[in-house]
């Protein structure tokens, strides 16, 4: 094979790989942002009023843990019981978003108020309107340095690559002061793996696997699905949580 042929082959291979990558850029809303049967059209009709929010079990833990909740080790189950008691008493002590802190990964992927994805060849950026939270996924082959690993953040440090049209993302360096799905505590050893792809026209899916050898007895898996916004609702708004922070208690 001549040098020229090898070169054109390499170029073709590069083009094929590039063409397989999907374009996620756009604004999205989750399919069930506030739980089934709440608000929205249910709230827009006359008749029995809807509940303002509906997560099962209730977000204060008064109905125990959901069957699909992360499986906690005894040590972290004990921590959860403390959080639950606080929440059942009506306290926001263990609710980061009520304190205007970032929801953290993977909870931020709930994206209840909408998500904006910005994408270049080397980076995909996810923005959450709720709490103006941001995360970046580096695609240029860089890896987290020890300096990064020693300095955990709520969003963590994410690197990714394309497997065909699926974006595979690994997230490390996660701050332990956050909650896996918004409620369950985790350790500084937590890592998150995601497989993000289109599953239908304008339907984006994020399959999330959380691993934490200290807090979880087995990896926890969840799937988030978002629909791309139509013109008219394709602009996210500023959240500016600190406007009300002075009143927080």
């Amino acid at each position: 094979m001549t040098k020229r042929k090898m070169l054109s082959g390499a170029i073709l291979l590069t083009l094929a790989t590039t063409a397989a990558a999907a374009d996620f850029a756009g604004v999205y809303y989750p399919l069930q942002p506030f739980g089934r049967g709440t608000g929205g059209q249910a709230g827009a009709r006359k008749g029995p009023p809807p509940r303002p929010t509906q997560s099962a079990p209730l977000s204060d833990g008064s109905q125990g843990r959901a069957p699909d909740a992360p499986s906690l080790t005894p040590e972290y189950m004990a921590k959860w019981e403390v959080i639950r008691k606080s929440r059942m008493a009506g306290s926001s002590e263990y609710d980061n978003t009520a304190k205007c802190l970032p929801p953290g990964m993977p909870a931020m992927m709930n994206m209840a108020y909408g998500m904006e994805v910005m994408q270049t060849k080397d980076k995909v950026t996810f923005f959450s309107e709720l709490n103006d939270a941001l995360r970046r996924v580096y695609l240029d082959g860089r890896k987290p340095t020890q300096k990064i690993l020693n300095d955990p953040t709520y969003a963590g440090y994410s690197t990714g690559y394309w497997e065909g049209d699926t974006l595979v993302v690994d997230t490390v360096a996660l701050h332990p002061n956050s909650f896996i799905e918004g409620f369950s505590p985790h350790s500084d050893a937590m890592t998150v793996k995601e497989r993000i792809r289109f599953t239908g026209p304008d339907l984006l899916e994020d399959r999330i696997t959380v691993t934490d050898p200290k807090a979880l007895t087995k990896p926890w898996e969840t799937v988030k699905t978002y629909r791309k916004a139509k013109p008219g609702t394709d602009e996210l708004r500023e959240f500016a949580c600190a406007e009300g922070l002075g009143d927080a208690k």
């Binding site: 929205g40 509940r51 008493a89 926001s92 108020y113």
Partner: protein, 130 residues
């Protein structure tokens, strides 16, 4: 509607406070979200503010005494997509609020839906995307 309010107010009795509540910033855990109660009153103030909007309204209790209720709604960004604007509620207008009451028994609530005097319904979330 009015009857339900009176029944609720009577049930709470002394638990109702006269003083307007501080507009704290809560998470949903501060409210009895399995319950939805209904109050009707006159708007005193509408705060179109992050992270939560607030409506203060004067509600007559069972004894004819006026009690100020402060009810907490979602953020302006979400309510804008649900059909609200910063001018949706004006001081002096009568509205009916479906809401979950606060766990601490104060005259505060988490808004499920607001109905204006002309029947216009302001929901607390945009239409579902599916």
């Amino acid at each position: 509607m009015r009857v339900r309010v009176i029944a609720f107010a009577a049930a709470l009795g002394m638990a109702l406070f006269d003083a307007p509540m501080a507009r704290s910033h809560h998470s949903n855990v501060a409210f009895e979200v399995t319950k939805v109660i209904t109050i009707t009153g006159v708007v005193k103030e509408f705060q179109w503010r992050n992270p939560h909007t607030w409506v203060t309204l004067a509600v007559k209790d069972a004894n004819g005494k006026t009690v100020d209720w402060s009810v907490e709604g979602r953020a302006p960004g979400v309510l804008l997509r649900a059909g609200w604007t910063r001018d949706s509620l004006k001081p002096g207008e009568t509205i009916t609020v479906d809401m979950s009451p606060a766990k601490d028994g104060t005259s505060t609530g988490l808004v499920a839906r607001v109905t204006k005097a002309d029947g216009t319904i302001l929901p607390n979330a945009p239409p579902p995307t599916e």
